[in-house]
């Protein structure tokens, strides 16, 4: 079963300040945590993809009717916190395992090593149809 674990720039359950205000050692610990988690998922044979996205400053919204020139909106966006920050795609044996990975992601260390408790959205990826249809 394939799941996408999504995290956005939104508020965290802890009172974690923005990363730019962390001590450099805390930032290093956070990055190492993410790398170690990816290495563990690879070692377990579960990792499909893990990507961080460039910041919301570089985001664009594009709307088109297919005829006229598209309408392109650049940032800054008032709802930047709702934009996607990064994702992992994992291929796991159960829904419970996907939730356990999401819990690990959510507990990534933040300022002073305190878990960030960032909400992680767990979504099943659509697959091919059942053979019995």
């Amino acid at each position: 079963m394939r799941y996408m674990l999504l995290q956005n720039y939104g508020a965290t359950e802890s009172d974690c300040p923005p990363m730019t205000q962390w001590a450099p050692a805390d930032i290093k610990a956070h990055i190492e945590f993410q790398q170690a988690l990816n290495a563990e998922l690879l070692e377990r044979g579960e990792l499909v993809d893990a990507q961080g996205l460039a910041g919301p400053e570089q985001a664009k919204f594009v709307v088109s009717d297919g005829v006229s020139a598209p309408v392109i909106t650049d940032g800054p966006f008032p709802e930047a916190k709702e934009l996607l920050a990064g994702y992992r795609i994992v291929d796991v044996e159960s829904a419970e395992r996907a939730v356990a990975i999401a819990a690990a992601v959510s507990a990534a260390p933040g300022a002073n090593g305190v878990p960030i408790r960032q909400p992680i959205e767990v979504r099943a990826v659509m697959s091919a149809p059942d053979p019995e249809v």
């Binding site: 079963m1 394939r2 690879l42 070692e43 377990r44 044979g45 579960e46 990792l47 499909v48 993809d49 291929d91 044996e93 099943a124 990826v125 659509m126 697959s127 091919a128 149809p129 059942d130 053979p131 019995e132 249809v133």
Partner: protein, 407 residues
Amino acid sequence: MTGHGGTADLLRGLAPRALAAVVRRYGHFADAEDAVQEALLAAATTWPADGTPDNPLAWLIRVASRKMADQYRSDEARRRREEIAASWSLIPHEPVPAYDDTLTLMLMCCHPALSPGAAIPLTLRAVGGLTTREIAAAFLVPEATMAQRISRAKARLKGLDEPFTLPPPGGGGERLRSVLHVLYLIFNEGYAASDGPDLARTDLSGEAVRLARGLHAALPRDAEVTGLLALMLLTDARRPARTGPGGELVPLKDQDRARWDRQLITEGLNLLTGALRQSQPGEYQLQASIAALHDQATSHAGTDWARILALYDRLERLTGNPMVALNRAVAAAMADGPGAGLALLDGLDDQLGDHHRLHSVRAHLLAQAGDTGGAIAEFEAAAARTTNLRERDYLVTQAARLAADPP
């Protein structure tokens, strides 16, 4: 072995025999499997250019043995070297029939201690002779991830420390059942993904059929092994009609039966007849019998639904699987009208809860019963819950059709 030419086919057939020979000679299944995989890759690159050796099996065994020896020579741990040297002299190497090799390897790779997610890729590599890259492509994961999955499976087997031998006659029943289950899952994985945008994927259904043929050759008198092979062929026969020109799903009742593969149906029916004659009933023979009735029917309405219903009754009693109960409800509706099917569904809510298949079957039966509003609501509920993209497209289309053009 990315090509589909003669070399790839030859290597896939030789892979389990080479592996079994190397394991018999040196022990150490996990290392032997790596060495054979390397030998297969070497053969795939050199044989097409230099020509196939006179004795290809001996070539593979020799190259794999050399790779194992190299590996151990570079190993500095003395204890390990001694242990290996001891095992070399202990393991006799007598000629063994190829079919036994395939069976022994399957029993090992499908060990009940492994989850299906671990047993499937290991079986495809060690018995099927597929490369890690091909298996990774079939399951749409990166090659490194699949390599890890396989090496974890082998590490788990290492911990069990079981001898590489066939179980005593009659002693492998439980183990054989898990082999059948793994082959069935490989077939279904391939069948589900065989059409539409995933054309580049390795043909897992074809691979499962090939492995099931090998197992059938090893155990020609096991009725369930024959039943599984028959089930695969009778199901695979419908594959050409299962998708429309745009890759959309075509349900059984709307399929163009002229596009079904008659040759596969005939072969499947012959196998099934032979299996049923053995009087060793089992779930794969029952499923194959149901598939056979569909394959022999000239139309959906003209299908022998009463017999299909009776077979689902037996299958449900045998397996206790609520998904079987769902199919039984469909058959009951076809045999005795939608009311009979809907009544059976009412008992399934507790077991299946909010499963999309329950909603989708109820939607179809409500539509048959003339309850358009109820059918639309159930199609929508099913569409919201399925994790199958093409199934969702199908369900949304059904809801929209009923809403736009109520009967």
